[in-house]
């Protein structure tokens, strides 16, 4: 029995904008079976950690405690919105020109559209979010707008559901940094839909920082119309249990996407990245590099699905997965999943697993650099390019330009 008896019925009664969605999600949770390791996409998952989410209390009207003192200031001319699952993120906020609230019939029409196009609407973590999300932040983006920082916080052993929808209109341009932060054994259930109109552009950064004992379920669904550009840069660290699932679809082809991911695991953490890219029209491109650093006896999982059906002729996709094992007990499972039906395509993929090279370490040490600094330098050489890609200067502002690797290499 994965979901405790009565868990669904103790949830607040369906209400508000998301009422129909909540009903749908709860129905699915009660009827569909809980994920099992017999399912390919859950095969390697430590399901007890997924079950443990039901022990948390749900963030609703009761605010949880987090301190914004340690947060960096927002870059000039940028908009920061804080989402904690209970307060209204727009309270007291004046939206800049080009960014407006999506409401009423328009919202109902847009809601879930991209999830369906990405074929992930019925995935278990998505249905969980459907069932428990109390509110949604839905924004329409027109023209070139100021950068947006979305900070999502979870603390005090709560499950914090958040849902965001971004409608990026034709020719609009958006830089957006999402910071998902968690402390105090809390968990995020996050669902994000992005619709990119023709010739629009989005630079999307996702910085997911746990504190070692937290859980993250994050599903991103991205729908690209033709000649749109989408770039995702994700950096994740510190999650006892994490699952990040970006699903992209290029509906008419002729769009470009890039995905650069870095996930870092230590202690007994388990973190999985499942990306899915589907080309539905011709001449789409994907440039993907997924990096992983696994220390101690942690477990890092990467699944990279790429689908190129018949209409997607002249698709150009490349996927590279690079894993660095810092300990003999760490485990990495990386798997590409290519389904290519179209014949005129370029699709390359590769996976490497390596360790810190003894000769590189010795070379640095022979120049007076200590063992631990040498290891830190090598690690930085490995991940720095991903950090540098975060929009809104996310690496400098949130990480001081570097990641905390204390103790990981000793």
């Amino acid at each position: 029995m994965a979901m405790p008896e009565g868990w669904l019925t103790q949830l607040p009664a369906p209400a508000g904008t998301l009422e129909p969605v909540q009903r749908r999600g709860r129905l699915a949770l009660s009827e569909d079976s809980f994920p099992s390791r017999r399912q390919e996409s859950w095969r390697l998952t430590d399901l007890r950690r997924l079950e443990a989410l039901f022990q948390l209390s749900l963030a609703d009207q009761r605010p949880h405690h987090f301190s914004a003192d340690s947060w960096p200031s927002v870059p000039q001319q940028s908009l920061r919105l804080v989402i904690d699952g209970s307060q209204d993120p727009l309270q007291g906020v004046i939206l800049p020109a080009g960014i407006s609230l999506l409401e009423g019939a328009e919202l109902q029409q847009a809601l879930g559209h991209t999830l369906s196009r990405c074929r992930c609407a019925s995935d278990w973590p998505v249905e969980l979010n459907h069932g428990v999300s109390q509110q949604i932040l839905a924004l329409r983006i027109r023209g070139k707008v100021p950068p947006v920082e979305l900070v999502m916080v979870a603390a005090d052993a709560m499950l914090v559901p958040t849902r965001v929808l971004l409608l990026v209109e034709e020719k609009a341009e958006l830089d957006c940094l999402q910071v998902l932060s968690a402390k105090g054994q809390a968990a995020h259930s996050h669902l994000l839909e992005i619709h990119l109109g023709q010739e629009s552009k989005m630079n999307h950064g996702l910085l997911a920082l746990g504190d070692g004992q937290e859980a993250l379920l994050a599903n991103l669904a991205v729908e690209q119309e033709s000649r749109s550009h989408y770039s995702l840069v994700s950096v994740s660290q510190g999650w006892s249990f994490g699952r990040l699932e970006p699903s992209l679809v290029q509906v008419d082809g002729q769009a470009s996407a890039s995905i650069h991911g870095l996930s870092i695991t230590a202690a007994d953490e388990q973190f999985a990245v499942h990306t899915a890219m589907r080309f539905e029209g011709p001449e789409g491109t994907l440039d993907q590099v997924q990096k992983t650093i696994a220390a101690d006896h942690s477990h890092s999982i990467f699944n990279g699905a790429i689908q190129v059906p018949r209409p997607a002729q002249r698709t150009n996709a490349s996927q590279l997965s690079r894993s660095l094992l810092l300990s003999g007990r760490a485990r990495v499972d990386a798997k590409p999943e290519l389904e290519i039906v179209a014949d005129d395509v370029r699709c390359t993929h590769g996976a490497t697993v390596s360790q810190l090279q003894e000769d590189q370490l010795f070379y640095l040490r022979s120049r007076g650099i200590t063992q631990s600094s040498a290891a830190a330098l090598l690690l930085r050489g490995y991940f720095q390019d991903v950090l540098d890609r975060l929009p809104l200067d996310g690496s400098q502002r949130w990480l001081g330009g570097n990641l905390q690797m204390g103790g990981m290499t000793s």
Partner: protein
């Protein structure tokens, strides 16, 4: 320059070392005094690089017996980083590529580690920029190499120049240059040799591992040693190198056969 009263900087006594349980060094004896330049020659596989790595402290090589004293202390007792900070420099036969690590930052961190030990003030990024540009002239290296990752994609000759640039920055007491000449074109050889000569002083010493007389035409050694089967078989002056050019190493086989070592 040989001075009888010079201070011994490096004293290697009956050094034995093995890698993966296989003995490679079988009793190396060598004393190097301040101001001296020693050339070490010998066939491929005779143990020259192994000796240099043992002196630098490579963890894959295990010293099984013997001793190495450096400036009066036990060198083998020190971590590789400590040896470097105290002035032991190894110019690698095959310099290592380190993608993602900026050459400039690497050079600054290592230079400062050495300077701290020397009791000198550490460089901030701006001062170091000036300093490194000055030192680049020793090897006539293009500043563009500073902006790249350590040795990544450098040609063979460029890597060797980068090694001598590091030597120029680290101001070593004992410089061990493992085949720094191989891979250099004729002009580069002259430039690099000029750099080594410029850095040699009465207070330091140089161990030149090489296969070729042409390097020794540029850098005049005080002693020439020939290694074989993991030890030094013969020692002479600069004439020994000239003799080897003519005779080759056949006599090494005869010598070892006579000793019953194959």
């Amino acid at each position: 320059m040989i001075r009888p009263d010079a201070e011994p900087l490096l004293e290697i006594t009956d050094l034995h070392a093995s890698v993966e349980g296989k003995p490679i060094l079988n009793g190396v004896n060598l004393q190097v005094k301040a101001g001296e330049i020693h050339a070490v020659m010998g066939r491929n596989g005779s143990g020259k690089s192994t000796l240099s790595k043992v002196l630098a402290g490579h963890p894959a090589y295990r010293v099984t017996s013997g001793s190495v004293r450096y400036l009066g202390r036990d060198l083998l007792d020190l971590e590789p980083e400590e040896r470097s900070r105290l002035g032991v420099f190894l110019g690698f036969q095959y310099p290592i590529e380190i993608p993602g690590v900026s050459n400039l930052e690497f050079l600054r961190v290592s230079t400062n580690a050495r300077r701290e030990k020397q009791g000198k003030e550490e460089f901030d990024t701006f001062d170091f920029d000036d300093h490194v540009r000055d030192r680049l002239q020793v090897v006539q290296m293009d500043p563009a190499f500073l902006e790249r990752s350590v040795n990544e994609g450098f040609s063979g000759g460029e890597k060797k120049r980068n090694e001598i640039l590091q030597m120029a920055l680290l101001d070593p007491v004992v410089a061990i240059l493992d085949e720094t000449d191989s891979g250099l074109d004729i002009d580069a050889l002259r430039i690099v040799a000029g750099g080594v000569n410029q850095l040699a002083s009465p207070d330091n010493c140089t161990l030149l591992i090489t296969h070729y007389q042409r390097l020794l035409d540029e850098i005049t050694p005080d002693y020439v040693h020939v290694m074989g089967a993991g030890r030094i078989l013969r020692t002479g002056g600069r004439d020994l190198a000239l003799e080897l050019e003519k005779t080759g190493y056949d006599w090494v086989d005869q010598l070892l056969a006579a000793e019953g070592v194959s």
